[in-house]
């Protein structure tokens, strides 16, 4: 067990895993936009849930007030996180649980693996959890000889397909029914009960196949692993909201329950849940209320798990919290509404974001949690047209475009940041030297009307010689779009020549 607390400088981040080795976003997206099946699957799924969410939200007369309340509860909690974390440790311990502190993914994985080994078990059942995806828990357990079974339907599809999740709520959104049937047929037998003979792609049949396959795992499992949507500080209560009931099985049947939870998941009181239990389901699945809400407080004799462990995960969150503009990303309740409205996500798909957090929220979360050193993380802040649809639907009012622009500044210009609990001054990322020079030159010219006019006249008078396609970096425009025709004279010349059109023809 570690005693390193978030908020205090931890050990040097030498134990952190290497930066993720994914291609930059534009390169990954280049493939994805050409994949017609993927585009079709994503378009269908995101447009369906988008419309449903809009309807579910429109039903609530005080939505704007709920959104503001959610924002304020989260901001308050984050401002006093040190105090609330200690309160959680006290209340969870008093209720019979054990609290562990993990500064990074490696430490969290080691804590969980050791806890599982102490039980003598070699397998665990898992509730869908973003935190355990973030730290790569399944792979870490596998390396220790422990098999982790995902029990959420979509996570099961991803796991059986040796795939990566591409959406926060529906990790297999990139798959259609036919693909899922094929995965079930070929893979289920390797993990346990095989798919029924003659399985078709009817949703009811697919769900039944998963139910039968998973049931034997639920009944056998002695260890369950979960995340949590919320941790209520005043009582040490953990909350998981879900749709399928697999979570309830994992949370109640095993003897040992281990929950890995990001430190930003705390809410101070039960009353605060009133807000989020309204905004989360409507934003996420477009339901008025999710089918299963499981809450547990420590352990209870003769009912549910007899041992409960809470692993509080930092993994870059304290660094993120130190950033005035970027910290709002920690308000996120993982509803995925921003993914479903994002036109970029819809076309590039979740895998292009190179993280378990795809879409707009991923584009601001990953470069903060992991830093901007890798190619993928340095490219994510640019993976947006800044259209603002994400901010509009966010139930905790995260101004994602604002954070994206802030992170672009960090990538392009460098500057102060916090990494591994230490204040550092980042150097600009590679590949922005030419851009920086262009921006500086443009600023110089644009601060001088005479220079701007000279440039405009040059462009106008050489217009007959303009090529249709541009070489080098210009191809990024002319590869798919024609250039606009350049006029014979800029507006300002016309204005001066005609005195605002008062003289001569307009």
């Amino acid at each position: 067990m570690s005693t390193t607390r978030p908020g205090t400088p931890g050990p040097p981040p030498s134990s952190r895993p290497d930066p993720p080795d994914f291609p930059a976003f534009p390169r990954a997206a280049h493939q994805a936009v050409r994949d017609r099946t993927l585009r079709g699957n994503l378009r269908h799924a995101t447009h369906t849930i988008r419309a449903k969410r809009a309807k579910a939200v429109a039903e609530v007369s005080d939505w704007a007030a709920l959104r503001e309340a959610g924002k304020q509860i989260k901001d308050h909690t984050l401002r006093h996180l040190d105090r609330y974390l200690e309160q959680v440790e006290e209340t969870v311990t008093a209720a019979g649980g054990t609290v562990h502190w993990a500064v990074d993914a490696e430490e969290a994985n080691r804590i969980v693996a050791d806890l599982v080994k102490e039980t003598g078990q070699r397998e665990v059942v898992k509730v869908k959890s973003m935190a355990t995806q973030e730290i790569g828990l399944n792979e870490a357990l596998e390396a220790e000889g422990i098999r982790a079974y995902e029990t959420d339907l979509a996570e099961l599809i991803v796991q059986l397909g040796k795939d990566r999740p591409s959406h926060i709520l529906v990790p297999a959104i990139h798959r259609n029914r036919g693909e899922i049937r094929d995965i079930f047929r070929s893979e289920m037998g390797k993990w346990g009960r095989p798919a029924p003979e003659g399985l078709t792609d009817r949703p009811a049949e697919l769900a039944e196949a998963a139910r039968l396959h998973l049931r034997e795992k639920f009944l056998r499992a002695k260890v369950g692993i979960s995340g949590a949507n919320f941790v209520v500080a005043e009582t040490g209560t953990l909350v998981v909201v879900e749709s399928e009931g697999n979570g309830r099985m994992c949370l109640t049947l095993p003897e040992t329950l281990i929950s890995v939870v990001g430190i930003e998941k705390i809410v101070p009181t039960w009353r605060d849940l009133e807000v989020f239990l309204q905004t989360l389901p409507r934003s996420s699945t477009a339901e008025r209320m999710n089918p299963y809400t499981s809450m547990w407080t420590g352990t209870t004799d003769g009912d549910g798990p007899s041992a409960f462990h809470l692993v509080l995960l930092d993994n870059g969150r304290t660094d993120t919290l130190a950033d005035e503009v970027g910290r709002q990303a920690l308000r996120c309740i993982r509803c995925s509404a921003c993914l479903n409205v994002c036109p970029v996500y819809e076309r590039a798909g979740g895998h292009a974001y190179g993280s378990v957090y795809p879409g707009p929220i991923g584009a601001i979360l990953s470069p903060q949690l992991r830093g901007t050193a890798s190619e993928i993380d340095a490219s994510l802040p640019y993976a947006s047209s800044l259209c603002g649809a994400c901010y509009e639907v966010c139930p905790v009012a995260i101004d994602i475009p604002e954070v994206l622009v802030h992170l672009r500044e960090r990538v392009a210009q460098g500057g102060p940041a916090t990494r591994g609990g230490n204040k550092v001054v980042l150097r600009p990322a590679k590949g922005h030297t030419a851009e920086r020079a262009v921006m500086r030159a443009a600023r110089w010219a644009l601060a001088r009307p005479g220079v701007l006019r000279g440039g405009q006249r040059f462009v106008s008078r050489t217009r007959r010689f303009h090529p249709r396609s541009l070489p080098g970096p210009g191809r990024a425009w002319t590869g798919t779009r024609d250039l606009p025709a350049v006029p014979a004279e800029p507006f300002r010349d016309w204005w001066q020549r005609t005195h605002g059109g008062k003289e001569g023809p307009r």
Partner: protein, 251 residues
């Protein structure tokens, strides 16, 4: 009222017709328009690409040029949003960085006086029928900054509906971004073009011959895709439609 036209650097250089249309329209409505020739650029491209410090002198320059006018009108939703939404933010950031409130104070006067064109017409002049004539079938794309940052709502559509001879048809998926996004269009060209192509196909499906919007930068992107795809439509800025009359029709 002393009204200044902030045409924007893109319109000044590439779309002087839009500028002439704004002058013609506002003059017809009895507004005395000035075009201060010291104007250049609001700094949006710098700011949104991550060069906030390069945008600051441009914002200061904007304020120097425009601060004494009673209203500043611009035919661009995104440049209006830059001034109204991001200038205050830039000033506040400078303050939190320990650089005092100078930038905030310099920029403050222009923020509430800057209007996007349709906003100025409907809210300040109080007109929706501007006496225009445009006998074409038109579909309207609300650009993102006008729609979400400025909250233009149905103002542009109300203006278009009052235009004589104009048949306004709804654009499917109207509120979706066209994919331009400033430097996004060249940093992520594949996704940008895919979004633009979907927008153009949606516009084409309406049977309209004209795709209208309030931002020429978005229309430059969409127009470039239209000619590349060989779609029989053309992009037209809303100012050019509203300026068009029976006596002096625009194409």
């Amino acid at each position: 009222m002393r009204v200044a036209l902030f045409l924007t650097c893109v319109n000044d250089t590439l779309y002087p017709d839009t500028g002439r249309a704004v002058v013609k329209l506002l003059t017809r409505l009895g507004v005395d328009v000035d075009f201060p020739t010291a104007q250049t650029c609001c700094g949006q491209a710098h700011y949104n690409t991550g060069y906030r410090h390069e945008a600051e002198p441009l914002a200061r320059h904007f304020s120097d040029v425009f601060r004494d006018y009673e209203a500043i009108v611009t035919p661009s939703g995104s440049c209006a949003a830059m001034v109204r939404e991001l200038y205050p933010r830039m000033g506040a950031r400078a303050r939190t960085e320990g650089r005092g409130d100078t930038l905030e104070r310099v920029l403050a006067p222009v923020v509430p006086k800057t209007y996007e064109l349709t906003e100025f017409l409907v809210d300040v002049l109080g007109v929706t029928d501007v006496g225009a004539y445009y006998p074409h079938r038109v579909t309207y794309h609300p650009t993102c900054h006008g729609l979400r940052a400025l909250g233009l709502g149905d103002r542009p559509r109300r203006l278009l509906r009052a235009v004589k001879g104009l048949e306004l048809v709804e654009l499917p998926g109207a509120e979706e971004c066209c994919g331009f996004g400033g430097t996004f269009s060249v940093k992520n060209p594949d996704v940008s073009a895919a979004m633009g192509a979907d927008k153009v196909r949606n516009a084409e499906s309406t049977g309209a011959r004209v795709l209208c919007a309030g931002d020429n930068s978005c229309l430059m992107h969409l127009g470039g895709i239209m000619t590349r795809l060989g779609v029989g439509m053309r992009p037209v800025h809303i100012a050019e439609i509203l300026a068009s009359t029976e006596e002096a029709p625009s194409a």
